[in-house]
């Protein structure tokens, strides 16, 4: 069947259309159109919604809500989303960032999905017409997920509380060897009071480094202070092997890069 695009004003109608066989939601096109170009004939109906809410960024009451159709470029240049700029700029080159959306990034398989790693560290909620889900729950079930993601929302940490690192072979733009996002709270004495660390490429989708997080609590961000966390960084990981790197290599350098990020 020939490919056809169906555009809907509301997410509700688009969700209804997605119930038909052979349909897929069209976000920025970087995943879906590519698949079609490459001969994936399983999709014949492309569904999209042009609901303006999908493209909105709302910052109010200490909470950030980003519409699923907001592009990486829009986030990178938003004056109040400075802490996310680095993660948004980690995606693709300039043209890809003008197209790639927040919603799409949540579905991007490793080694893609660096922005979703940042969202995982931020403990974002993922919104659909059915309500909101914690991002961890969403990512775990994303393969079977059919409902259109409408937004992500999170409480932004203090500017110095968010750290992001993407390691790639090719500069300035290359896909990830791995990416790390960390949201750290620090007590007055500098010791870590809270930690959320998310990893990209260390599994088939973004994952938390929970043992490392625990090992950081109460520790200072010094070489010795973070040593237990680095030692535990690889716990629970099952990194991908792809043309960029093997699982072995990713596991080997994860503590190195995590250490550099924490000490930066």
């Amino acid at each position: 069947m020939a490919l056809a695009l169906h555009t809907f004003a509301t997410v509700k109608d688009a969700n209804a259309a997605l119930k038909a066989a052979g349909t897929r939601y069209l976000g920025g096109g970087t995943l879906v159109i590519r698949a079609a170009n490459e001969g994936d004939v399983s999709v014949s109906g492309l569904i999209r919604s042009i609901d303006p809410a999908l493209s909105a960024i709302a910052i109010a009451g200490g909470k950030v809500s980003i519409g699923a159709s907001v592009t990486m470029a829009a986030i990178a240049r938003h004056p109040e989303l400075g802490i996310l700029a680095k993660a948004a700029r980690a995606v693709g080159g300039p043209a890809v960032r003008n197209m790639a959306t927040v919603g799409g990034n949540l579905f991007a398989p490793a080694p893609y999905g660096d922005f979703a790693v940042a969202l995982l560290a931020l403990d974002a909620m993922v919104g659909t017409d059915d309500g909101e889900l914690p991002i961890e729950t969403f990512l775990a079930g994303r393969d079977g997920s059919r409902a259109i993601v409408t937004s992500v929302s999170f409480t932004p940490p203090k500017a110095d509380g968010f750290r992001f690192l993407k390691v790639s072979r090719v500069k300035p733009k290359g896909v990830s060897v791995l990416s790390i996002a960390a949201v750290l709270g620090q007590a007055a004495d500098g010791t870590v009071s809270s930690a959320r660390i998310a990893l990209g490429c260390m599994a088939d989708r973004p994952m938390r480094a929970k043992t490392a997080e625990k090992a950081l609590l109460g520790r200072s961000l010094t070489k010795d202070g973070i040593a237990p966390a680095l030692a535990a960084a690889g716990e629970g990981t099952s990194p991908i092997t792809d043309p960029i790197a093997t699982a072995w290599y990713r596991n080997e350098v994860l503590p190195v890069h995590l250490g550099r990020l924490l000490l930066s």
């Binding site: 490919l3 056809a4 970087t30 170009n37 080159g93 300039p94 043209a95 890809v96 197209m99 733009k173």
Partner: protein
């Protein structure tokens, strides 16, 4: 097959076409309209040869459906020269010997144009970042970086 109407301006002139739904902008420009300056180097979004400017933003025409461009203003490298006079970027690419096979050139020029439109005096790092989605296999990039820096200097001299 369902045909859908699409209307946009291409390099300042109005275009209206009936296309097959699901046609990429790249194919619409090349096959329907006859502007072959955007090149199909990968159809994956990984080479940048198909780059065009849509409403002031750099886009990959291979991953953009033509029908989503209804009402848009599209610029391609074919439309840069005005009255037979080359754009400073085109001139700079010539002067720095920044083309070899030439296949990546239109995409590179599109990426560079968006950069200079927003950042008339870019740093070397800003040029590198702006070109980072475009693959060149011949030049080793340095002559292209030099071309963009040269065009920026020419612009600032003209403005002064």
């Amino acid at each position: 097959m369902a045909k859908v109407p699409v209307q946009f301006t291409l390099n300042g002139s109005e275009k209206a076409e009936f296309i097959d739904s699901g046609t990429t902008l790249l194919n619409a420009l090349r096959d329907k309209i006859g502007d072959t300056s955007p090149k199909g180097g990968c159809h994956q979004g990984t080479c940048g040869a198909c780059s065009v400017i849509i409403d002031g933003e750099l886009r990959l025409s291979c991953l953009t459906l033509a029908e989503t461009c209804d009402g848009a203003a599209i610029t391609t490298t074919l439309g840069l020269a005005e009255g037979g006079v080359m754009h400073p970027l085109q001139r700079a690419f010539l002067d720095t010997f920044a083309t070899q096979c030439g296949f990546c050139t239109p995409g590179m020029i599109m990426a560079a144009k968006v950069l200079l439109d927003h950042t008339p005096n870019p740093s070397r790092d800003e040029v590198i970042e702006a070109l980072s989605g475009n693959i060149c296999r011949c030049t080793g990039y340095e002559p292209i970086i030099q071309a963009v820096l040269r065009a920026a200097r020419a612009n600032s001299q003209n403005a002064a």
